[in-house]
């Protein structure tokens, strides 16, 4: 029962982390063994949303919807995607709390941040 309640809180937390004007692309898993997932779309040379705040254990899934390749590369070398062509995805599960800034090595003006509570 305690487990169930904490998972419910997780779901609420990550839903509130998505700005209201953004379509809720994240799909929370029902309470169970699978980690929650939150989606970040790469569109028009932007990570959307550029900052996501998630509980530890959440998987962030980036999808490149641009006609040009991008990467998702941690400033601190915590994670690094391969080059993502159009439609390709990269995911990473954040197990520890912290702030994880990242950028696109191809277009370094593109930056984003994952905050893990």
């Amino acid at each position: 029962m305690i487990l169930r309640r904490s998972l419910a809180i997780v779901t609420v937390l990550f839903l509130t982390s998505v700005p209201a004007r953004e379509p809720a692309r994240a799909s929370a898993n029902a309470p169970g063994d699978q980690p929650a997932k939150v989606a970040v779309t790469i569109d028009n040379f932007n990570y959307g949303p550029s900052t996501v705040t998630i509980p530890a254990g959440t998987t962030v899934v980036w999808t490149n919807q641009d006609d040009v390749p991008h990467t998702v590369t941690s400033d601190d070398k915590v994670f690094a995607s391969p080059v993502l062509d159009t439609g390709e995805k990269f995911e990473y599960t954040f197990k520890k709390p912290g702030t994880f800034p990242y950028y696109c090595t191809v277009h370094p003006k593109m930056t984003g941040k994952v905050v893990v509570k």
Binding site: F45, D66, P69, V106, H107, K109
Partner: protein, 336 residues
């Protein structure tokens, strides 16, 4: 201003700018539907049939070469589903030039995704360029894998570091720079300390009268930093070149023609052979721009460059792929 070159814009290094007649002429073009924009000291010009009016000596010059850029072999999206075909048209244009270029500069983004098959396709097509060699510098799309190892294996013979080098041709010193590797979060293009040190050393022995041509992928001037169109440490490299009377900088990356004069330095960017990108600030992002059917070749092209000793100038003629090959047809551009 040369009265014979009535449709060309002459940049006088001694006076640092565009002369009034040139500007008025530019307005006249605007009145006839030609595009010529001057804002913040940046002159951008397109003139139809301009090459017909260039004096013979300016057309011939002493050193003729071609800049091509941004071929993006492997790209297949709506903005151009067949980049091989448009590259082939560009090559045909080079081969049809009335003045055979001594060499070709390719200012990067040869491939779209740095894939072996893309490099193979590009090399195969570029073998069709008749005449002198092709000198390359990489774009960021050429170094996506293995930190540019494949690019260097194919095009990096005799270069330093990530692929920078220099060479001399008919008394002009050419410097090929790499500003697309080890880019920093939030930053622009980057040359890096090792390359900057090399530049300083490379030009140390040159007389200040030596004309310099610098070529690199990302613009070495601040075109539009919001879109990453600039190079963070370019000012340091250009600082080393201050003592030279004539410095011309040729870039690609932005898939459109732009020009700027700053003191003794003239800047020029070339069209892509693959797809257009928007004018800065006119779109949500600098991504590939689809144009109406039948218009694609009007936004792609090559730059024909002529150096004329004594004028301290490069005459750059930007030729769109839908234009008839010079001299019988249309061309646009400005004298740098």
């Amino acid at each position: 201003m040369d009265s014979n070159a009535s449709d060309s814009l002459q940049f006088d290094h001694n006076h640092d700018g565009v002369d009034r007649r040139g500007f008025l002429k530019c307005m006249a073009w605007a009145g006839t539907g030609m595009l010529c924009v001057m804002e913040g000291g940046v002159l951008k010009s397109f003139a139809m049939a301009r090459e017909l009016h260039l004096p013979r000596k300016l057309r011939a010059g002493e050193l003729a070469f071609v800049q091509m850029s941004d071929s993006h072999l492997g790209f297949n999206k709506a903005a151009n589903p067949d980049v091989s075909a448009t590259l082939q048209v560009a090559i045909d244009r080079i081969n049809a030039l009335p003045i055979a270029p001594e060499f070709v500069l390719h200012t990067g983004d040869i491939t779209h995704l740095s894939k072996t098959a893309e490099f193979d396709a590009a090399e195969q097509l570029l073998k069709g360029v008749r005449g002198g060699p092709i000198h390359f510098v990489p774009g960021e799309h050429d170094v996506l894998a293995d930190n540019g190892r494949e690019y260097l294996a194919r095009f990096g013979a005799g270069t330093k570091g990530a692929g920078w080098y220099s060479f001399d041709q008919k008394g002009v010193h050419f410097i090929g720079l790499v500003n697309v590797v080890n880019l920093k979060a939030g930053g622009l293009g980057l040359l890096g300390p090792e390359q900057l040190e090399w530049v300083e050393d490379d030009i140390r022995h040159l007389a200040s009268s030596t004309p310099i041509v610098v070529f690199a992928h990302i613009p070495l001037w601040s075109v539009y930093p919001e879109w990453g169109w600039g190079t963070d440490d370019a000012a340091q490299a250009l600082g080393y070149l201050k003592r030279f009377g004539s410095v011309s900088v040729l870039n690609g990356h932005i898939h459109q023609v732009m020009q700027k004069v700053e003191g003794n330095v003239t800047f020029h960017t070339a069209m892509s052979t693959a797809f257009a990108q928007p004018v800065p600030g006119t779109a949500p992002s600098p991504g590939p721009m689809a144009v109406p059917a039948g218009k694609l070749r009007s936004v792609l092209g090559i730059s024909e460059v002529n150096f004329v000793r004594g004028r301290h100038a490069l005459a750059v003629v930007d030729q769109a792929l839908d234009q008839e090959p010079a001299p019988s047809g249309a061309a646009g551009g400005g004298a740098l």
